[in-house]
């Protein structure tokens, strides 16, 4: 058992553990009945995905994932839960038929997606660069994806204004 193979084994173990986290988190996020657990599950799953990104060779994206998703989005959701305070106490009983149908439909979908993934003969590009660097990402954003970059800023602007008018006005009007 040389080091490389043990390293590989370690890496493999780490990989599966990450996957495990992701899946567990996802399950908690979806199936737990307390909304706060859901958020925590989501955070767990997102962290797991960040881990997977690491395995995919992109540290930067993994970090951004932690920052934006786990940091920003989850917190925002928690805030929202707090604003609609009594709700996290509400745990209505589960309607089994609905769950079964939902699971069945999703299973069909999953089978489809998995089938596509497995049945397709994925062909890598003939010439592949190995440039994963942040610099290139930045460069890309300012050249090829310039428009995308600009538009995302507009999206955020819209989101901000939208959040204000939607949440804000309705408060004023309802009070």
């Amino acid at each position: 058992m040389d080091t490389s193979s043990s390293l590989t084994a370690l890496a493999q173990a780490a990989f599966w553990i990450t996957i495990g986290f992701t899946m567990t988190g996802a399950c908690i996020a979806v199936f737990a009945r307390n909304i706060l657990y859901n958020v925590l599950g989501l955070a767990l799953a997102l962290t797991g995905v960040a881990g997977v990104y690491l395995f995919l060779g992109s540290l930067f994206i993994a970090l951004m994932q932690l920052l934006i998703y786990v940091g920003a989005i989850c917190i925002a959701i928690v805030f929202a839960i707090m604003l609609s305070r009594p709700l996290h106490l509400e745990t209505p009983p589960r309607a089994m038929p609905k769950v079964v149908m939902a699971v069945a439909a999703s299973a069909v979908f999953f089978v489809g997606l998995a089938g596509v993934a497995l049945k397709t003969n994925w062909v890598p590009a003939i010439e592949r660069s190995t440039d994963f660097s942040v610099v290139t990402i930045g460069h890309m954003f300012l050249t090829r994806y310039e428009l995308v970059f600009e538009v995302i800023s507009l999206v955020l602007l819209v989101a901000i204004i939208g959040a204000i008018i939607t949440a804000g006005f309705s408060r004023r009007l309802s009070s």
């Binding site: 397709t120 994806y145 999206v155 602007l157 819209v158 204004i161 939208g162 008018i165 006005f169």
Partner: protein, 474 residues
Amino acid sequence: MMNDFILFLPEFYFTIAALIYFGLSLKKTSEPWALQKWALTLAGIGLIVTVAASRQHGMLFFDCYRVDLFSQVFKVLLAMGTFWVIFSSSELKGIDGRQHAEYYFLMFICTLAMMMLVSSVELLTIYVAIELSSYSLYLMVPMRRNADEFSETGVKYFMIGVTASAMMLFGISLLFGATNTTYVSQIVVKLPALLGQPVAIVGLVLSLAGFFFKLAVFPFHIWAPDVYQGSANQVTAYIATASKMAAAALIIRFTGFSMGASPALANFLVVLCVLSMTFGNLVALIQKDIKRLLAYSSIAHAGYMLMGILALGERGYAAAIYYAMAYLVMNYACFMVIMKIADDGHNLQIKELAGLHKRSPLLAMTLMMGLFGLAGIPPTAGFTGKFLVFAAAVEKGYLWLAIVGMINATISLYYYLIVIKAAYLLKPVEEFPAIRVDGMTRAMSLVLVGLMVYLGLFFNQFMDLTEAAAKSLF
């Protein structure tokens, strides 16, 4: 550089317009009518600008953005739809006066987003643009005030929208995986070779989901009735007219990936087409609320548009473009009348139309022509549109589909006739006062009626235009 600027002029113009209204929204108080006048002026100029730029073609943003006849035709349609909706916003009672500036802001943004959408030839750009347009619509829908019974609309629209867009995103990722590129021009080259593999079709189908959602094709239509009913009349009009244009354009673009060589995709589209037409028309039969009725009719019309598209050929695309054009005019004509009648912003019921021909003969006629157009009765544009899509479908051997389409058109006639009957025949329970129709609206009514007939009969040059546009697609 200057040349590039001209290419991007409409989008640029609408960005400026949106920013102006962003600024205005920061003001504490502003007169709604003044906002409307300015917005109308801006939109009018925007329309002129778009028309002026309509013969441009070129590439922008490192080939992410393509300006050609196809995109420019749709941009003109979008600008026109926006102009018309703003024209009808003089009675914007469905939205609180304090939010009017935001309303115009979002509308300009949405138009801008859709303009970018029709021009984008890169998957990420397309995705971002469609999200931008969707988000502005998500926000416009719940703006409606004093309508607690419709409060769930916004959230429903949002939830369905994000689900559909997640599917689309997944589909796009599959396309990316299959072709290793995000450029449409390269996908078009590579994808036909991959059609034997499931990924290509699944990727296409999933990415079409987002556009089907926008166009309200069965089974992605579920938001349509609720949103049409639940949002302010003007917002509904906007969703029903302008936003459909962009969706149609993108469906045409994406189905074009297969270069007409995919029976599986065609079969899928055929099924959706038949389901959409049948479902929309059948359920519309029992509606009482006009906007909800028009929502179902829009589902059916999405089916007709698909019939042109599923021919997966130039003639079919040209027919679909023509259909979209005609649909814009007819649908807006109906909505204009509805907005004019329900000038306090409430939801119009069919029975409220009773006695319309006395209250305002002109509006009644406009409504009748619009509805006949939607029903596909000559000599309106609706008929010619149907004729062209059927022609495209039959040319590909779908004779039975054309028959199904015509039977559906007959079914649809029933509910359109019910509305017309209400307008021309029913005696109102209580006498409503005559509707005051200002000169602008009169002129607009005549223009719309004239346009519907003109498009319906003198469509030679429009045919040339749409065929050229469809050709520029590839």
